[in-house]
Structure formats: C-alpha cells, structure tokens
Symmetry: none
Subunit: 139 residues, 4 copies
C-alpha cells in the first residue's frame, strides 16, 4: 500500500496508520467506496501485528472514515474526504503548533527558527527527488 511506518517518531503505530489513511483519503489516494486492505494483509505488509492494524481501523470507524461491510471488508465512507481534509489540516497544525511553540520558547530568534525549518524542508525535497528517481529506475 502507501503507508510508511516510522517506529521512532513518537507516534504510536496505530496512530500513524490512522493519520496516514486519513491523509490518503484527503489527498485523493483513496475514494469513497474503495475497499481498504484487509487487516491481515496490511499487517503483513507493514510487518506489524494484526491487532495493531485492527485498532487503527476501529478508530477510523469511530471517526466515520470507514464502515464495515460484514464478511467483506472495510469501505471508505461517502463523507470521508470532507472530514479527512478537515482532519488533515487540524492534525498537522496541532503538531506544528506545539513544535513551534517549543522552538519559540527555546530562545532562538525567529530568523534562526526559519532557518532550521528551511533546512529540514530542503532535506525532505532532496529525499523526495531521490525516491522519485528510484521509482523511475524501478519502472
């Protein structure tokens, strides 16, 4: 699938799954009516316990992003894109906010903070272009 689990970024695995599926719905990687990978399938792919995936899916149901089709699987709901787009900004803003708050209290000037952010964004861009070139090689 399309998920990248990073065990050391402070977020629980199940939470990373929840967030990334929401993000995927928000950015047109998943559409209403799509069946998402089965619990066992995704668990195998992420090398993670099925219960962990199951828990993530359960939360996504509680958040009205998924519904179960009995004996069939889990489906993206009709209003998922809307709620997920809202959630995406909210979830990211929350994390960004608390990080920036700490940075701001750290005694660094806004200039210095901007510099760090720029540096990390550039690093990401490099990583991305490296990945996409890798993908081109693969294709």
């Amino acid at each position: 699938m399309f998920l990248h689990i990073n065990p050391n970024n402070g977020l629980a695995i199940y939470d990373q799954i929840v967030r990334q599926i929401k993000f995927s719905v928000a950015s047109d990687g998943l559409y209403p009516g799509d069946l998402i990978p089965s619990v066992r399938e995704l668990a195998k792919e992420l090398a993670v316990n099925p219960n962990t995936v199951s828990r993530a899916y359960r939360e996504l149901q509680a958040d009205q992003v998924l519904i179960t089709i009995r004996g069939t699987g889990l489906q993206v709901t009709q209003n998922a894109p809307e709620t997920c787009k809202k959630d995406r900004t909210r979830l990211l803003s929350n994390r960004i906010q608390s990080v920036l708050q700490e940075a701001s209290q750290s005694g660094l000037t806004r200039q210095e903070i901007d510099q760090i952010i720029k540096k990390e964004l550039d690093r990401l861009d490099k990583k991305k272009s490296k990945n996409s070139s890798t993908e081109s090689k693969e294709s």
Copy 2:
C-alpha cells in the same frame, strides 16, 4: 521559575523540563554556577509530581548540565552553555524534521505547508506580545 509545561503536546513532562532547562542555559537564562530550584520547590510550582522533576534532574546530571553540590543543591556546570547550545538545535531540528516529514507525506503541497507554518508562527508572535504586555502590567 521560567518553565511552561503543556501536558498534551506529546512530550513527557520530565522531557519538557529537561529540554526547557537546556534551552534556558543555551539562551542565557541560566549561567554556570547558578543553583536551580529544589525538586520539591519546582514540583510545587509546576503542580507536578516530585518524582517527575527528580527524573528530569537526573537526566540533566547524566548529560553533564547539572552537578550536585553536596548539602547545597544542583548547580549549572561550567561547560553547560556549550553543550546546551548544541543540544538545542539538535533537539529542535529532530522534532521539526519528523513533523515536516509527516506533513510532506500528507499530500499537502509545500506551499500549503509553508502557509500553515506561517500561520502558526504568527499566532505565536501574537501570543508572545500579549504575554509581554501582561508581564509589563505585572511589573
């Protein structure tokens, strides 16, 4: 003292104490030789369990930022400023990096991410100026 604890920003309380004390040393809020508040005192001020403060101090000793003066308390070490300045950038960069990584994977464009960051920075600026005006009232 000068610490602001936020129980819901994902960081453990003890970790917030550690980081903020390091930041304070790095930004000339604390100098080598300064005695820091006792465990009980700080715990009371932050409305936090003394064990939590104790653990933070323990880590700061392990990182050579604090040193015990027998019968007196904990003192900022001579080379604390140097190590803390290094730590500050590293600690902040790490957090910023993992947040930006998630944002980047979320499907938002770099422009949109920049916009969120700008918004949150502005919000912080407002908050800061409000606080400083409050402080002036208090003084």
Copy 3:
C-alpha cells in the same frame, strides 16, 4: 416476501431470517406445505449474500421447520406451526429478558423503564399504521 432485515439491531442477518420465518409460520403467514422462495430469489430480494440465506435455510431444516422436496425446493413441514409457536415466545422472551435485565441494572426506576417501553411501543404503533396506510395506497 415478508421479511424486514435490519443490519444494525445486533442480530446476525441469517438469524433474523430464521426468526422471522419461524414467526411467520407461527402467525399463519406460512402454512405447512408452502414452498418458500429459493435461496437466490430471497437473497436478491433482501440484497443479501446468498450464503447468508442458505445458512438460514440450513438452520431451519435442522430445526425441522423446513424440509427439502427434491427437485422442487423447501417446504414448510407439517408440525412447523406447533414448534414455531413455542419458539416464538421463547426467542422473544429471551431477548426481552436480557434487555430488561440491563435496564434494571441501569439505575432507572421501574416506572422510568415502563415509560421508555410505552414510548417505544407507541412509536411502533404509529409506524405500523403508517405502513398499513401505505400498503392500502399500493393496493
């Protein structure tokens, strides 16, 4: 046919089919010798997986309510009415019992529970009369 499936009332679909067919036999909606709809037919009508209907029919055969007539289909047995009438009261009593037990443990007074029951019964009466008027329109 005469079945109303509600996927969210806690009972499995196949179980709802089993119960409602028994109820229908008990209340003279189906008579001994009647042929019931084929698995495919009923599955299509209820928009349900044929396996689900199949399972319901299997249980009804095990309970001696239905019997296979080779090359013809499933037929209501001779003693079905008798057993279904017993079953009807038993099945309903069981469900009612466990619900009332929970209600009783909930801290509500018997009066309050009676009130809720009355309210829900009234709601059903309204629904019923609305349905029957709809049915008259259809005829």
Copy 4:
C-alpha cells in the same frame, strides 16, 4: 466493584463494562473526580483480561466520561453525569426498540407482548428481592 458481566447476552464484555460504568455515573454510583478501579484491579475482579478492561476504559475516554491522570489512574470527568444520563436512556431505548420491533413483527398481539414483558419484569423483581435479602443476610 458494581459490575455484573453476563457473557451470553450478546453484548461484548468491553461493551458491557462501558455501558455499566456509564449507567453507574448516571445513577450516582460514581461522581466526577472519582478514581475508578485500575485496569488490573477490575480485570482481576471480573476474571477478565486486562486488555478487555483497558479497551472499555479507552472508549470511555473517547466518550469524555473518563480522563487519565498520568501515572495515577482514570478519573470521572465533570460533565460525565450529564452525558451519561443522556447516553443511558439512548442506549436502553435503542435496545428496547429493536427488541420490541421484532416482537411486533412476530405476529403476537400487543396484549401478548405486554404480557411477556410483565412476566419478565416480575421475574426481575423477584430476583432483585432475593438478592437484597441475600445481602441482608450477609450484612
């Protein structure tokens, strides 16, 4: 504590715990600020796996009935009574409704249904008085 788990009433154990704790808050068995039994404690008392209790508590947090006090336990929230009272009626009404709906479709007359309900309520009353007499003996 005050919980009675019935493994055969169709509801999952974790769900019974959730409902009964809500009921307990609604009926003044638990008050805002109260610390509820620890996961391990309740699990032991109910002879149930700690994870099952943990899951129930997690849902109660999601429903804003409980909040975690880190390293201390779970506390009943301030607005819990209000939300729980609403929930109590809603949860019971839902179950009662679906049971009565089935009863109504079963071909029994309203009189017959009333009779069954009365019978089961009486049975509960007897059980209750027996329990309370048992309790008096014990005291």
